[in-house]
């Protein structure tokens, strides 16, 4: 249990992990569930348990689309997407931990890709 | 003015408690053996709305250093609405005392349910400490009543 870490995530996200009643509606709703090692309800639970290392090391945190469907439908107002965002920020704020680097961009982008996508992806995945 | 064996000021604090919630809450802190200072003395009233501003002034007159009024949480009043009136009356009374320059920390209203023994004890501890820090009531006492 890493309570400092948990407190920081909770503070940063403003999300109420302790309100979770483990119904699994976030995971039922998640459009990118299939690409994840850990799923939204597990994110919430792992943060509540203070299970730091495994979650921060998991590529799952970069699979969230921030589509907010889980936030919208959660019956307990837990806001899983905000939890995930806080965890992700916690990771990429570490030195050299950017998930997406500007050098990667030319390969990933094509001429029609809107600038919006580049800005958003960098904001989400890089410091 | 009371002082203890070390010479520190021991304030006199009067607590008005409604019979249904706060008095029961006080009983519960007793049942749970939760300590709070002995200089707090409780007066039982049927409802917080029974407390007339006169009683509070009277307590200060006779040498009380602090007066606290406890009732059921708003919405939980045994008599349905009593504490809502209390809330308005006391807000205005406290504001008036403050306006007259009486230290506003000397009066307080807290909502304590019958289940909140812990809260009762904590509230009493913090209130007594606050009053002790303020020192004796000099601005609203009746000099003739001084011992």
């Amino acid at each position: 249990m890493n309570n400092d870490w948990k407190d920081r995530i909770v503070r940063m996200s403003g999300a109420a992990v302790q309100k979770c009643m483990r119904c699994g509606k976030c995971s039922a709703t998640c459009p990118n569930y299939g690409e994840m090692e850990y799923h939204p309800h597990q994110f919430v639970y792992m943060v509540e348990r203070g299970d730091t290392e495994r979650l921060m090391a998991s590529p799952s945190i970069f699979e969230c689309l921030t589509c907010f469907a889980c936030v919208e439908r959660c019956p307990r107002g837990v806001e899983p997407a905000k939890v995930i965002e806080a965890v992700r920020l916690e990771v990429i704020r570490q030195k050299g931990a950017n998930h997406l680097k500007p050098d990667d961009l030319p390969a990933a982008a094509d001429e029609d890709l809107p600038g919006q996508a580049l800005v958003t992806a960098l904001r989400k995945f890089a410091k | 003015m009371q002082v203890n064996e070390t010479g520190a000021f021991v304030p006199t604090v009067v607590a008005f408690c409604c019979n249904w919630c706060s008095y029961a809450g006080a009983d519960l802190s007793g049942t749970n053996r939760l300590q709070y200072p002995s200089n707090i003395k409780i007066i039982r009233v049927p409802c917080s709305c029974r407390v007339n501003p006169m009683f509070i002034l009277r307590a200060f007159q006779r040498g009380a250093d602090g007066v606290i009024l406890c009732g059921c949480h708003p919405g939980d009043c045994h008599y349905t609405t009593g504490n809502y009136y209390t809330r308005r009356r006391m807000t205005l009374l406290f504001s008036m005392l403050d306006y007259l320059g009486i230290e506003r920390e000397r009066t307080r209203v807290e909502w304590v349910s019958a289940a909140e023994g812990q809260k009762f004890a904590e509230t009493m501890k913090s209130f007594a400490a606050e009053i002790a820090a303020l020192g004796p009531n000099r601005r609203l006492e009746d000099l003739r009543c001084r011992k």
């Binding site: 119904c23 998640c30 | 300590q35 003395k41 407390v51 008599y79």
Partner: protein, 663 residues
């Protein structure tokens, strides 16, 4: 000079270990007016009480102070003891030196000193006590039951059986309530109609019961034992006394497309109709929103075919005024609207239904005559998904914060019955928890899973997506398998949360009964007085107090009846004498007191006063009805002139306590 006795209890070591009881008795014995002051190991024991009684007699005491445990514990014990010794019981005061002294302090000197101060305060108060006698008021031996569902029916039957007349007021044209709409009942699977309708008939036939259907309570005044209610009997345009319920009018009515509320709008009824075959009273009603005659004066067919002349297009509402000794709230529940949970596509697809709709779809008297068919195309569904906790256990923003309690069991019933009748159907139940506390409940649920092969999946449904082929793509999580599922379903059933009837809040205001934030009536005590409202004379039956299934509702309904019978069997009620009273000579008649009284206990009268100069002056003055007043004291502070005071907690008594404490 009054003579007081002081009795200090050791409570074994509970008090004596921390408080020097002898010193307390001694110190209080030196107070003026105290003629006897003593201590004893257990004052509440028989010998302790005898000690008090003997002292009262021996010293002709005028008042007694007992330094002991909380008055909430033994005030009544000591008051009774005093009364037995001939002392007015309200001449007893308790100094709480256990809960509020010995138990919360460790320092013996400090605790002893405080005990003495508390004793002095009690002495100061008791010196100003006055002997009080509780007032009496008569009891009207008739009960009013508001709501004619199973709760109201059971309560009314029990009260009537005990020999008291009862009126049932039901807002719908028939009694029966929600239970009449159910198909089978868990956990025994009896048919709801088979066990309910005989009770409905019993109500109709019991000479102590009067059913006021299609009626609403409009105003309630009075107090325990003496209520007056105004009941609006809504116009049904059919003379109840003449209609035989033959149904000819319904058959001939040309307006055929009226959504049938009994079947939740899944089929149609006529503009003149009897809600269902076993309705009680079995009397037709004309729906003025649909009837051509009432809307534009064109038709009149029903009147022509009625052989007894019961149709009355000119009927108007009437208001009935009746007196009651007790009032029972049995207003029941409604399922919440599920449209707001758009992810379940209730508004988008006809094949997403609520559990109550499912009941009607499987009921022989329902829109499909009991064959389970999809509302969209009338075909047999082969895959059915049940979704639990729709709107229950949510944050207040998202729905109801409580568990609706009945859904787990009725869903097990639905799933089991479906599998039994249609073994080729796949049935999935998505649950967060399966909650089955109740006799034979868990066994019932296990049977659904084990014997009937219902697929129970721990997880939630995220979204129901109607597809072009008419099926429903149910996207869900399986938390045990840790996977996301897609089930291609034909029918989705939502276990909608239940909420108190919308009529309840208005009623609570009329009855001055309290409610919680969810609009459930509050009971006088959650454990020890579960069927009474805190307002005397108001009783609670069924779901209006909190979610309940049928067995629980019936138990509570009978318990409620027992309480009502207990009240109605009394000829007179003894009140709490610690009530407000107004000094007429000081009263200004300003009405401030009445405006804060939660019980309506204060009235005003113009009274003639003989003035010192022998003239007569007429003044408006307040008068407190001691039977209604509950003694909160709100009025005493609202009164600017100090005319209003409270027996038992008078201004002077409280100030005497203040003085004693601050001395």
């Amino acid at each position: 000079m009054q003579k007081l006795g002081v009795f200090v209890c050791h409570c074994g070591t509970n008090i004596a270990a921390t408080v020097d009881v002898k010193a307390v008795a001694e110190a209080l014995g030196r107070e003026p007016s105290v003629v006897v002051s003593t201590d004893y190991p257990y004052m509440c024991s028989e010998s302790g009480q005898n000690l008090i009684k003997d002292a009262i007699r021996e010293h002709s005491l005028d008042g007694v102070v007992i330094c002991s445990c909380s008055p909430r514990m033994h005030e009544n014990t000591f008051r009774k003891a005093a009364a037995q010794a001939g002392l007015n019981p309200y001449m007893v005061e308790i100094a709480n030196i256990r809960e509020q002294c010995s138990w919360i302090h460790k320092d013996r000197e400090e605790a002893t000193e405080k005990a003495i101060v508390l004793g002095r305060a009690a002495i100061a108060k008791v010196l100003l006590n006055t002997p009080l006698t509780a007032g009496e008021s008569p009891v009207t031996k008739r009960a009013l039951v508001i709501g004619g569902g199973i709760a109201g029916i059971q309560t009314a039957l029990d009260i009537a059986e005990a020999g008291f007349p009862v009126d049932i007021v039901e807002k719908e044209p028939t009694i029966g309530g929600k239970m009449a709409q159910l198909d089978k009942t868990f956990p025994t699977l009896d048919c709801a109609a088979c066990i309910l309708t005989p009770k409905m008939v019993d109500c109709a036939q019991n000479e102590n019961i009067r059913i006021l259907s299609f009626s609403e309570v409009e105003e309630v005044t009075g107090f325990v034992g003496n209520f007056t209610a105004k009941i609006r009997r809504k116009a049904r345009y059919v003379d109840e006394t003449k209609c035989t319920g033959c149904g000819l009018c319904t058959e001939k009515c040309p307006v055929k497309k009226v959504p049938n509320e009994f079947n939740l709008g899944m089929d149609n009824r006529r503009a003149v109709y009897i809600p269902f075959a076993q309705a009680v009273p079995k009397v037709a009603r004309i729906d003025p929103d649909w009837c051509n005659m009432l809307k534009n004066g064109k038709c009149g067919l029903c009147s022509k075919v009625c052989t007894v002349g019961a149709i009355d297009y000119k009927q108007t509402d009437t208001v009935l005024e009746e007196h009651y000794g007790a009032i029972v709230a049995a207003t029941g529940y409604e399922p919440i609207k599920v449209d707001r949970y758009g992810e379940y596509a209730y508004a988008q697809s006809k094949d997403v239904i609520t559990s109550l709709e499912f009941e009607r779809l499987t009921n022989a008297a329902g829109p499909t005559s009991g064959t389970l068919l999809r509302p969209s195309d009338g075909r047999h569904p082969h895959t059915i998904v049940f979704i639990q906790c729709v709107g229950s256990r949510c944050t207040p923003e998202m729905g109801k914060t409580y568990c609706s309690k009945i859904c787990c069991m009725y869903t097990a019933k639905h799933a089991m019955l479906t599998r039994e009748k249609y073994p080729d159907t796949d049935v999935y139940v998505f649950y967060i928890d399966v909650r089955t506390p109740g006799k034979n409940f868990d066994e019932f649920y296990r049977r659904a899973a084990e014997e009937y092969g219902v697929h129970y999946i721990k997880g939630a449904v995220g979204k129901v997506m109607p597809r072009a082929d008419g099926t429903l793509d149910v996207q869900a999580s399986d938390l045990i398998m840790n996977e996301q599922l897609h089930i291609n379903a034909d029918l989705v059933v939502l276990a909608a949360a239940i909420e108190p009837s919308k009529t309840a809040r208005r009623l609570a205001t009329m009855l001055t009964a309290s409610m919680d934030t969810n609009d459930f009536f509050t009971e006088a005590h959650p454990k020890l007085r579960p069927v009474e409202s805190p307002t005397a004379g108001i009783f609670l039956s069924g779901v209006c107090q909190g979610p309940k299934d049928i067995p629980e509702t019936v138990s509570q309904a009978s318990a409620c009846a027992a309480k009502v019978i207990g009240l109605l069997s009394k000829n007179k009620l003894t009140g709490n004498p610690c009530v407000a009273h107004s000094d007429e000579w000081m009263c200004n008649g300003c009405s401030n007191c009445a405006s804060v009284c939660p019980y309506g206990a204060i009235t005003y009268l113009d009274k003639d006063f003989r003035m010192p100069d022998r003239s007569t002056k007429t003044r408006r003055v307040a008068s407190v009805n001691p039977a209604v007043c509950q003694g909160c004291g709100a009025c005493t502070v609202a009164c600017p002139s100090g005319a209003m005071d409270l027996y038992g907690f008078s201004n002077s008594q409280i100030m005497a306590e203040v003085d004693a404490i601050c001395k």
